[in-house]
């Protein structure tokens, strides 16, 4: 029988050559099923929620993530201990761990009373002006959601194209640091550099949003 590493090498080779690798992958992750369940239970214990059925779903989710991204992301090298090798099993179990954590974090957010629709689910009686106001509010929310989407698309592009500026912006704006002294300390750069990176990030984000809008309109910029 092939070892885990040999089987993983076979899967990687098949994937690189465009061959079907689902069967050996299924065999490999099946070997790690019990270990995955142990990890999931440990997460369930920390969050004080979950059921055996959840474990199956989390496992499936982890396998899907391993196939989608993990096979390429895994480099066989421990990032934390240079020179040491990491095993594919350890890597897979970390995906399992984060799938479980993500699931229970989301569940807790959904149960947060601040974001719930209503306790009993009944719709209250609504007068016509109230209904019209609701429609306006719903439209405003939809507009806000759309704008929210375009901002995060621009943010993803900034992270990809200008990671240094994105890092500064993330601390300064998203994490509400709002202080270049602190940003510069966190990033190990000068205060002037922090200021410049945040300015460039801001300019790029706005320019990306404008570009995306132009693309959607399908119109060239007017002269």
């Amino acid at each position: 029988m092939l070892t885990d590493d040999e089987l993983f090498a076979d899967i990687s080779r098949r994937k690189a050559q465009g061959q079907d690798y689902k069967r050996p992958l299924g065999e490999l992750v099946f070997r790690w099923r019990d270990a995955s369940t142990t990890v999931i239970r440990r997460v369930q214990g920390a969050f004080m929620r979950g059921s055996p059925d959840d474990a199956d779903e989390v496992f499936q989710d982890a396998v899907a993530k391993f196939m989608a991204k993990g096979l390429d992301q895994f480099r066989g090298v421990s990032e934390q201990v240079p020179g040491k090798a990491a095993s594919p099993k350890t890597f897979f179990l970390r995906i399992v761990k984060h799938c479980a954590i993500d699931r229970y974090r989301r569940q807790r957010e959904e149960l947060d009373p601040g974001t719930s629709v209503g306790e009993d689910g009944d719709e209250p009686e609504t007068s016509l002006p109230e209904a019209q106001r609701s429609i306006s509010e719903a439209k405003a929310l939809a507009d806000q959601a759309e704008a929210h989407g375009e901002y995060w698309n621009a943010w993803e592009r900034l992270k990809d194209e200008h990671p240094n500026e994105a890092a500064a912006w993330d601390l300064y704006h998203h994490q509400d640091l709002d202080d270049h002294e602190e940003v510069s300390r966190a990033l190990g750069i000068t205060v002037v550099n922090s200021y410049k990176r945040v300015s460039r990030a801001q300019a790029w984000l706005k320019l990306y949003i404008l570009e995306a809008r132009k693309r959607e309109e399908g119109l060239p910029e007017e002269s």
């Binding site: 270990a35 142990t38 990890v39 440990r42 997460v43 214990g45 920390a46 421990s78 990032e79 934390q80 201990v81 240079p82 040491k84 090798a85 990491a86 095993s87 099993k89 350890t90 970390r94 995906i95 761990k97 984060h98 479980a100 954590i101 993500d102 974090r105 807790r108 957010e109 704008a147 375009e150 901002y151 990671p163 890092a167 993330d170 601390l171 704006h173 998203h174 994490q175 640091l177 966190a186 990033l187 190990g188 750069i189 000068t190 550099n193 410049k196 300015s199 460039r200 801001q202 300019a203 790029w204 706005k206 320019l207 949003i209 404008l210 570009e211 132009k214 060239p220 910029e221 002269s223």
Partner: protein, 390 residues
């Protein structure tokens, strides 16, 4: 009108004669595509600026008749239109860096790079105008094919023109030399070149106060509106794998300080990590990674900068501090150097190692308060500099 720019194009007339002579003599080995390209660009450059240069088209297009059909096809087949899109996008990106540079010297250099990329687009336009002037069936066929491809590039890149306003000084000079009939099509030089737009990028970046056109106001409001970015799956996963940058680790720390839900997730990470250690303890290769930033290992590298072409890592140990430049793409990586702030003119000693190019900065007690400047040069001539506090 800038006399030096005018002279540059006037000199094209002399070049044109030399290229015509070279093409007619057929001295160059190969298919002649290079000379044909240069000749087309020179002819087009002059044709598009005939008023400014005071010449008649007939005198300029005569050398085009010396171009053979196979040579013309060889040139057209070699035109890399996709590269042009990359260059235009790079020009837009550089233009923003030139408008908001780390230092004025950096700004001037980066602006020059951006203008060079715009010139590449302009030279191709000149070649297409010359191709049209040939009025030959083979030239017309190639023109149609190239024009379609170039139009698609323009459509995908024209939205970046707002960034180019940072180069308006140079762009206005170029636009003023073009004949009216060609100016509008040359959007890379002529669009948004009004004085009002000159500081637009700096205004968008909040560097200077200024009026903003109405179409920018909603994007401005969208970006400046206060919002948080909740830590999610990818952030925690990167942290767990040791891939998170110093900034990403700091973002998680800051958020965990005020978010009990995130604290709970970090505790769950620790709990699950113990399970993983137990489940993999018999494995020979299992690494002992520790997820929480609070117990970060002294030997864990700090990711100073990560780009598609390379990664810069900082290793601290009791004995010494090392910077490692790790090329992701050897074909793009040209050279790297590291300078300490106490010896800014002397590069730190380097040696190739398992992980990349290792730079020894010295013992940690001697480096307190210093900054290291890491300069990486790529094969396309671009240089990336980053600083790290030691």
């Amino acid at each position: 009108m800038n006399p030096s720019s005018r002279e540059k194009y006037a000199a094209r007339l002399t070049e044109l004669e030399a290229l015509h002579h070279e093409l007619s003599a057929g001295k160059r080995p190969g298919d002649g595509a290079v000379v044909v390209g240069l000749l087309l660009e020179a002819v087009g450059d002059v044709l598009r600026r005939k008023s400014a240069l005071g010449i008649s088209p007939a005198a300029v297009i005569a050398p085009l008749s010396a171009i053979s059909e196979p040579s013309l096809k060889a040139w057209a087949d070699g035109v890399e239109v996709k590269d042009l899109a990359a260059r235009l996008k790079r020009a837009a990106s550089h233009a923003v860096e030139a408008a908001i540079p780390d230092s004025p010297e950096d700004g001037a250099t980066i602006a020059q790079w951006a203008v060079q990329d715009l010139q590449a687009r302009d030279r191709l336009e000149s070649a297409l105008v010359a191709l049209e002037a040939m009025a030959r069936p083979d030239a017309t066929r190639l023109l149609t094919r190239l024009r379609d491809a170039v139009t698609a590039v323009d459509q995908s890149c024209r939205g970046t023109v707002v960034s180019l306003t940072a180069l308006n000084g140079a762009r206005r000079v170029e636009a003023s030399l073009l004949d009216g009939e060609f100016r509008g099509a040359a959007w890379w030089y002529s669009e948004r070149t009004g004085i009002d737009d000159d500081q637009l990028v700096q205004v968008l970046g909040g560097e200077v106060k200024g009026s903003m056109p109405a179409e920018f106001k909603t994007a401005n409001a969208e970006v400046t509106r206060k919002r948080g970015r909740p830590v999610r799956f990818d952030d925690l996963f990167r942290l767990d794998l040791g891939l998170a940058t110093a900034a990403e680790r700091e973002a998680i720390r800051l958020q965990a300080d005020g978010d009990p839900e995130l604290k709970l997730a970090l505790a769950a990470m620790d709990a699950a990590e113990s399970a993983i250690t137990e489940e993999t303890k018999d494995e020979v290769l299992a690494p002992a990674t520790v997820p929480a930033f609070a117990v970060e290992r002294a030997s864990a590298p700090e990711i100073v900068e990560e780009r598609s072409e390379f990664k810069v890592l900082l290793f601290r140990s009791k004995k010494n501090v090392q910077v490692v430049v790790q090329p992701h793409r050897l074909d793009r990586f040209a050279a790297a150097a590291v300078f300490r702030s106490d010896e800014p003119d002397r590069a730190c000693p380097s040696s190739p190692g398992d992980m990349g190019l290792h730079f020894d900065l010295g013992a940690p007690e001697r480096l307190a308060g210093l900054v290291a400047r890491v300069v990486v040069k790529l094969t396309d001539g671009r240089t990336h500099a980053s600083e790290v506090r030691l």
